[in-house]
């Protein structure tokens, strides 16, 4: 004697209904990823997931192998982008306002931890990017065919440090301006291009020095002879727009290349 099929529970029926609507189907072009076909489709039809291949070596997803350090670095980059955007609502990059805007942020916003997340996330990102490079070196993953991607990585490393460096100035407190002063003083000593660099004295037109405190590498970096209004604006623009834009593009290339170079490295 055949029994009648159990009626589906309410939630399952709702789910079925929702996933059958035209709206849902227009967004997701696959069913639940519980069949191999759908697992492929999930990765291939999603712009974010398709940075991944569809299948991957088991050794490549072991945490012991990648430490997920590149992934964490990227994650921190996203966190920084998001919290940075919120901070931009409150922060004005001028000598008159910058410091007070930061103080207000701490005093006026209840339970506001955006600045904290942004600052600690930045420190963390510097650490994770070092550890990621360290992992990639230790597994020899820069060897052919991944030489180029290692180089993209090195540039990303430099950009990460520059992001952090430019951000360091923005609170406009004693810590900020003096750290940047110390850091940018180095540019004074650039060979030929810094006014205290070796060889700069040789660049003269008649009696006129070509490289002096008002025309050297440091001046170009700071937009002035010292860390002031010009430097604050320059660093702000680089920090919020210039460097993130370049870093974002390079990350896209970096991930794409991980795939194109045959996925996470493994013994041949």
């Amino acid at each position: 004697m055949a029994t009648a099929p159990e009626p589906k529970p309410f939630i399952a029926r709702t789910w079925d209904y929702v996933t059958e609507t035209q709206i849902w189907k227009s967004i997701f072009r696959h069913g639940m990823p519980d069949t191999n076909r759908n697992r492929v489709l999930v990765v291939m039809t999603n712009v974010f997931l398709h940075l991944h291949p569809v299948k991957i070596r088991k050794s490549g997803i072991r945490l012991k192998f990648t430490w997920c350090m590149g992934g964490l670095t990227f994650f921190l980059f996203l966190v920084e982008t998001f919290t940075g955007l919120l901070l931009m609502f409150y922060y004005r990059p001028t000598v008159a306002y910058a410091y007070m805007d930061i103080v207000d942020l701490a005093e006026q916003v209840p339970l506001g931890i955006m600045r904290e997340i942004h600052r600690w996330g930045a420190h963390a990102m510097v650490i994770t990017v070092w550890l990621h490079m360290f992992r990639v070196f230790m597994t020899g993953s820069y060897k052919p065919p991944r030489e180029f991607n290692w180089n993209v990585g090195v540039i990303l490393l430099v950009l990460t440090l520059l992001l952090s460096f430019t951000g360091y100035l923005l609170p406009w407190d004693q810590l900020a301006i003096w750290a940047i002063t110390v850091g940018s003083n180095m540019a004074r000593a650039t060979p030929l291009l810094g006014h205290e660099g070796p060889g700069a004295q040789l660049l003269v037109l008649g009696d006129v020095k070509m490289v002096h405190a008002g025309s050297d590498a440091r001046f170009a970096l700071l937009g002035g002879r010292f860390v002031g209004e010009g430097a604050l604006l320059r660093f702000y623009v680089l920090h919020c727009v210039g460097i993130p834009l370049v870093a974002g593009i390079l990350m896209a290339i970096h991930f794409w290349r991980v795939r194109k170079d045959g996925g996470i490295s493994g013994p041949l």
């Binding site: 991957i56 996330g121 070196f137 230790m138 993953s141 180089n151 609170p171 900020a176 002031g228």
Partner: protein, 370 residues
């Protein structure tokens, strides 16, 4: 009390740059190649000792003052993280070496590991887990520790010490040994160029895609020496052990603004013309600096060639003929210049610590000091 102070004094003494860096370097060369140092037990003992050291030291007000500075907390965390991941990579490397020696593939190369699996769900879930844990850590950390804000910027009041952001403190520490044009411009550029050159000058095809030490000993030792000793260690030194006037202060020492350090550093020219030959310093700058110029020219001009054609020099196995043969002239030239630049720092350090040598070439007239 007496015993505690004796221990503190001992640690203050041992952390002075000359001793600290030398000890770390010795430990580095002993420990990294030996499997016995990278077992679970050593990791556990190391973690516990490290945590005990930091924990107990927090009772010391001077130590606590520096370590509790909000911006320094991540650097303490970094110390443990670097230690942990060093262990994680080297323990796997030595394990794989043992497997390879026994004729087995490295762990990453076993059929089970080489098998392919689905990105969804396996990888995507791992990534999500990392993200969730990362987010939790970040939120807890942010709730617990407020972001610092100091007094408003005041261009007229220079704080002492004035420090660069923490990740550049290794470079600032280099300023003790080299002038800004080298420590702040040339060496950082060379670090970047050197990192970029690695895939092109390392022609060893082995060790691609798995942890191993034996198959890439020299590469790993060189890279780790740069990363651990010349970068991370110097960052720690610059953060925790450098106080006012960039003087050295032990971890339990009060940062005294008026601490005096005898500065009796001597230039090579003074050694040659005053101390050794009693000729008196020549007036002419180039003549005066001739010994140093010759030394530097030898270092960058002659030494690379010498190393390229010898296996041993003065009986020591420091010749690079093997590498010259393997790399060919162009790769070798890049490799040896990067190598010599990297070693220049420890060489200058040792010269400073032993001979109080200030500059090898000193031409302040044209800002050219080495």
């Amino acid at each position: 009390m007496g015993a505690i102070n004796a221990v503190k004094d001992a640690i203050n003494f041992l952390t002075a740059p000359a001793i600290f860096i030398s000890l770390a370097a010795v430990l580095f060369f002993i420990a990294v190649p030996r499997r016995a140092f990278w077992t679970r037990r050593v990791a556990m003992v190391g973690t516990i000792l490290g945590a005990l050291f930091v924990g107990v030291s927090m009772l010391d007000p001077d130590f606590a003052l520096i370590v509790k500075k909000a911006d320094n907390v991540p650097i303490v965390a970094m110390l443990f993280l670097v230690g942990f991941f060093l262990w994680l990579s080297l323990s796997q490397a030595h394990e794989n070496d043992a497997r390879i020696a026994a004729g087995e593939p490295p762990v990453e190369g076993t059929p089970r590991e080489a098998e392919k699996t689905w990105v969804w769900p396996d990888l995507v879930y791992t990534e999500m887990l990392c993200m969730v844990i990362g987010m939790i850590v970040l939120v807890v950390w942010s709730l617990a520790l407020a972001a610092p804000i100091e007094e408003p910027a005041n261009p007229a009041r220079t704080p002492n010490p004035s420090k660069a952001p923490w990740y550049f403190l290794g470079l600032q520490e280099m300023l003790v040994y080299f002038d800004p044009w080298l420590a702040g411009v040339v060496f950082p550029s060379l670090i970047i160029v050197g990192l970029m050159a690695i895939p092109y000058i390392d022609v060893n095809p082995k060790g691609n895609g798995y942890f191993t030490f034996k198959e890439r000993k020299v590469e790993i030792m060189l890279f780790l020496f740069g990363f651990l000793i010349l970068w991370v260690l110097l960052v720690l030194l610059g953060t925790f052990l450098r106080g006012p006037n960039w003087n050295f202060f032990g971890p339990y020492e009060y940062w005294d603004l008026h601490k005096l350090e005898a500065l009796n550093n001597v230039n090579l020219s003074e050694y040659v013309f005053v101390k050794w030959t009693h000729l008196g310093l020549p007036r002419n700058m180039l003549l005066r600096e001739l010994p140093g110029i010759l030394a530097v020219l030898f270092y960058v001009g002659v030494l690379p060639g010498l190393l390229a054609f010898r296996h041993r020099i003065l009986g020591l196995p420091i010749g690079l003929k093997k590498y010259y043969d393997r790399l060919g002239p162009w790769r070798y030239a890049v490799f040896v210049m990067l190598l010599l630049s990297m070693i220049a720092l420890p060489i200058k350090m040792v010269l400073r610590w032993t001979l109080n040598l200030k500059y090898i070439i000193a031409m302040p007239e044209i800002f050219f000091n080495i």
